[in-house]
Amino acid sequence: MALTESAARAYLDRLSFGPLPGQVAQLMQTGITPWLTQQLNPPAGDDAATKAQLAATMVPLEYTDANGAAHNSTLPLQYLAATSAELFALEDPSLAFAQKVRPGTEIRAATWVRAATASAQLREVMTRFWNNHFTVDYTTPGEVGMMLPLMDGQAIRPNVFGNFRTMLGAVATSGSMLFYLDLCDSNKTDPNENYAREVMELHTLGAIAYEGIGTPGQPSDGKGYTDQDVIQVARVLTGWTVANGHRKNAAGAAPDDGSFLFCPSIHDTGTKSVLGVTFPTASGAGQPEGETFLDMLAAHPSTAIFVSGKLTRWLAGDNPTAALYAAAQAAWAANVHSPTQIAQVISAIVLHKDFLASPVAKVKDPFRFLVSLIRGTGAAWSWTPQLQDLLDNAGYPLFAWATPDGIPDRSGFWTGTDGMLTRWVAANALMTGTTITSSLSEATGDASGKPAPAVAFWTGTLIGSGLSATSEAALQTLVADSALWGKNAALSGAALETAIRRLIGGIAQLPEFQTI
C-alpha cells in the first residue's frame, strides 16, 4: 500500500537511523509491510558495504607502556570477531588500560559504522536499544570493554528480533555483564547483590515491580519483588562466573578463556525463596537454579509491561497511546516462548494504526541526530575521533553511560539548553570536519553554483516537503551570510563546497531535523 511522504519519512526516521537520499520516495511506493518484513529477516552478519567500511576503519590507540614510553598509533579493527580466549588474553598485567579495553573501543567505532552504513537498519536500531537496555560501561572495569565484542556480537545482535529469554540468558553469561555488575566476583560466603537487583529492576520486571508499586498507567501485578528477593537471588546466582584459570567447573577443570563458567564450590547450596518460589526447584540444584530464575523473569507479567513499554516508546515516541502499549504487551506475552518473540512485538507496534499517531514528535538523541545527518547527505564518510568527541560533548557516552539504567530515551532529556546547543554545534562541526569525505557540491548536481538550487536540493533531501515557511526564510538569511554565498550570486570550487557544507549544517539545525 502506497504511503504519503510524511508517513514514509516517519517510518524511516523511527525504524532506521534516518533515510538515505531517495529512500523516502522508494518507501512511498512499496509501502511499509514489504520493507518491514525484509528488515525483520536480515541475513546474518554485515552486508558487503558495511564490511568494506569496517575494514577501512582506523581507530587511534594511545597509551604509555610499563617502561614509560608513549605509543601513539592508528590501527584497523581487529577484535570484532575475536574468540573469548583471544579477548581474555588481554588480561595481561603488562598491558596498558587502553590496550586492555581496545576491543570495546573498536565496538564503539563499529557501532557508528554499522548504524550509518548497514542496509539492515532496523537491526541496528534494535541493537542500539538492547545494548542500551543491558547497558555496560566499557571502562569499568576494563574487562567489560575487553569482552564487549562478545556481548554485542553474540549476546545482543543475534537476538534483537528473537526471544527475550534467550537474550537475557546470553547477556547474563556474557563476560562484560558478569564483570560490570560484579556477578563474577560473588560467592556463597557473602553474595554480591549488584546484578541480582539490577536484573530485576532494570533488565526485566522494572522498578514498577519493586515492592509491587507500579506507576500510573502501568500498574504492576501487585506482587512485585522485595529487598528480601534481591538477597535471595544473589544466593541463587552464586557460582555464575568467568573462567579465569582458577575457578573450577563441575568437571573439576579450570579453563582460562574468559568464558562463562559455573563454579559449584562457590555456589550456595542452601534453600532460597525468590518471588514466592522455593529453590532449588524440581529443575535441579546448582546452575539450573539461575536458569529457572531467568525463566521466571522472562515470563513474568511485569516484564511484559516494563520491557514492551520501553520498546514501544523507543519506536513510537514518548507518549504512545494506551492501545499501542496494550498491543505491544499482548504480543510480548503471547510470544514468550516464540523464537521470534521480539519481531512479533515490533510488528505489532509498527503496523498498529496508532504507530504514527503520536501528536508530539520525539527529539533525536545525539547519536541518532549525527548518524541521520551522515545518512541524509548520502556522502562517503569515514569514522573519525571527532564523532566520539561530539557524542561525549553532547552527553551521550556510547557504551560508557555511568549507571546501569542506560541512556534515557525521552525527548525532555535532550531539550535542555546544553542539549539544544550541542546538536547545533555538532551539525556544523560534522559538516565542516573531516568525517564526510565526498564532494557535496557534486552531489548537489547543479552547475550554476547559485544558492537557490542548493537550498532546494538539500532541504528536499534532508527534510522533504515539510519545510516550514519560517525555516525557509531563515535559510535565506543563512545563505546571505558571508561564510556561505554572501553577496555572490554563484560560487565554484572550494568556496562552493564550503558554502554547501555550511548550508547542510544549517538545515540540520532547523527544527524539522531535530525530531523523528
Binding site: T140, P191, N192, D405, G416, T417, L421, N428, T470
Partner: protein, 410 residues
C-alpha cells in the same frame, strides 16, 4: 548498579520538573533578564550529588565502636591506629573517637576552620534500596515512589519560592538535568561555561529566525539567550580552573556573578559493591582536593555560598565478600560554607548495635528534607518548610549558624 566512573563525572544534574522552565518563564521578563546585576551577590546553594550511594561509614565513623569494628575489616573502616589511621574530629555526636577518612584531609582542614560540618544518619524514611528510586525520592522530597510521577522536584519548588531569579539563576552544571519529558521550555544546563558558545556567531541570527515558532521554539530561544549571557560573562571571568575537576564550571558560574541561586553538580563513583578500599579512597581523595580547591577559587563568594552533598543512600554496615558494601540506608551529608556552624558532627547517633540497625543498615535519625530545609532556609526568608516540602516537620540539627542562633533564642 556497577562502578560509576571514578574520575570526575558530571553527567546529569537532577532538577526534574515539568514546571521548572515554567517557573522561570512565569517571572516578569525584566526580572528574568536581570543577570550580571551589580551589587552584593545573592545567596547560592550548590547541591553536590554523590551518585552511587556514598559509604558514610567509610567517610566518618566512631573508630572505636566495637560493633563497627566487628562488622567490617579494617580496610573498610576509618581506624584510630596504625598506618592510614583516620583524622580525629572534635565535637562528634557521641563521646567516642570520631574520625574522618584520611583521604579527606582537605575536608578536615575546613572542618577545623569551622567552615564544614556533617549531618550523620540522615536520609529518607523510604523503603527503597534502588539507586534510581532513591534519586527520584531525593529529587522530589517524597517518601512514596508511587507519588513520584508528575510530582515537581524540590528544586523546581525552590525556584518558584525564591525571589528575583535570573535567567542563570538555577543551573545544572551538566549536559542534562533530570526533567520531565513533557517540559515545554528548556532547563538551563551548562556543563562547561568556557565552551558554551556558538562557534559561528552568525548562527545566532539564523537560529532565532528558524525557531521563531514551532514546538521547540521556547527551548531554542532560551538556549540562545543563555548562550549569549554566558558568552559575555565568561569572557570577563578569571577563575583558575586547574585542579577544580568537577567543580570548574560551578566555580566559574559563581565567579561570573550572574545571579546564580541554585546549581547542581554531580560527582559519581560511590557504588562500591567491590574493591571498595581502592575505589573509595581514590574517589574521596579526588573529591576532597577538588572541593577544597573549589572553595579557594571563589574567595569573593564565601559569605554567600553554601554547598551540601546528597547521595542515593548510605551503605550496609556489614561488608560483603568482595571487599565492598551493598546498598544501605542512613547517609552522611557534608555541608560547607561561611554560614555553616562547622567543626561539628550533627544528627543523633544511636550506634550500630544489631538491635538498632534498620535491616542491617544505619538507621535514619534526621529526615534529610529537614536538613535540606535548614540549609536553604536562610536563602528563603519568610518561608516555611512546608512551602518546600509539604507535610514535613522541621527539626533543625543546628548545622547552620542561623538555625543554631534561632534554636538558642527559643
Amino acid at each position: 548498579m556497577s562502578r560509576l566512573r571514578s574520575s570526575t563525572i558530571s553527567r546529569r544534574g537532577f532538577m526534574r520538573s515539568a514546571a521548572f522552565g515554567a517557573a522561570i518563564a512565569s517571572l516578569p521578563a525584566g526580572t528574568r533578564l536581570a543577570f550580571g546585576a551589580s551589587g552584593a551577590p545573592g545567596p547560592t546553594i550548590v547541591v553536590l550529588l554523590l551518585r552511587g550511594g556514598q559509604d558514610g561509614l567509610l567517610l566518618l565513623a566512631p573508630a572505636d565502636d566495637s560493633n563497627y569494628v566487628a562488622a567490617r575489616p579494617s580496610s573498610l573502616r576509618v581506624t584510630n591506629a596504625g598506618n592510614g589511621a583516620g583524622i580525629a574530629l572534635a565535637n562528634g555526636p557521641t563521646k567516642q573517637d570520631w574520625r574522618l577518612n584520611p583521604a579527606a584531609a582537605p575536608l578536615a582542614e575546613l572542618y577545623t576552620q569551622g567552615l564544614l560540618g556533617f549531618v550523620t544518619a540522615t536520609g529518607l524514611e523510604a523503603d527503597t534500596r534502588s539507586h534510581f528510586q532513591a534519586i527520584d525520592l531525593i529529587e522530589t522530597g517524597l517518601t512514596d515512589v508511587a507519588q513520584v510521577t508528575g510530582a515537581p522536584g524540590w528544586l523546581t519548588t525552590y525556584t518558584g519560592l525564591a525571589a528575583n531569579v535570573s535567567m542563570l539563576g538555577v543551573v545544572a552544571a551538566a549536559p542534562q538535568a533530570e526533567i520531565d519529558w513533557q517540559d515545554s521550555t528548556a532547563v538551563v544546563t551548562i556543563p562547561d561555561p568556557a565552551h558554551y558558545t556558538l562557534p559561528l556567531k552568525s548562527d545566532d541570527a539564523f537560529l532565532r529566525a528558524a525557531y521563531a515558532g514551532g514546538s521547540l521554539s521556547a527551548q531554542a530561544l532560551q538556549t540562545l539567550n543563555v548562550v549569549k549571557a554566558v558568552d559575555t560573562a565568561v569572557a570577563a571571568d578569571t577563575t583558575k580552573t586547574a585542579g577544580l575537576g568537577a567543580f570548574a564550571g560551578v566555580a566559574q558560574l559563581i565567579n561570573m556573578n550572574v545571579g546564580l541561586r541554585m546549581v547542581t553538580v554531580e560527582f559519581g563513583g560511590w557504588d562500591t559493591h567491590n574493591d571498595e578500599e581502592n575505589r573509595f579512597t581514590t574517589n574521596l581523595t579526588n573529591l576532597s582536593s577538588q572541593l577544597a580547591a573549589f572553595w579557594n577559587a571563589i574567595p569573593n563568594f564565601h559569605a554567600t555560598t553554601t554547598l551540601m552533598t546528597l547521595t542515593d543512600f548510605g551503605r550496609r554496615v556489614q561488608s560483603n565478600a568482595n571487599g565492598g558494601t551493598d546498598h544501605g540506608s542512613g547517609q552522611v551529608m557534608t555541608v560547607l560554607g561561611n554560614g555553616v556552624a562547622g567543626g561539628r558532627i550533627y544528627g543523633d547517633w544511636v550506634g550500630l548495635a544489631a538491635d538498632v540497625l534498620d535491616a542491617g543498615d544505619v538507621p535514619i535519625t534526621t529526615d534529610i528534607r529537614s536538613a535540606m530545609w535548614e540549609i536553604v532556609a536562610p536563602t528563603l526568608p519568610g518561608r516555611k518548610i512546608g512551602d518546600l516540602f509539604p507535610g514535613v516537620v522541621s527539626t533543625p540539627t543546628g548545622i547552620m549558624k542561623s538555625a543554631a542562633a534561632a534554636r538558642a533564642a527559643n
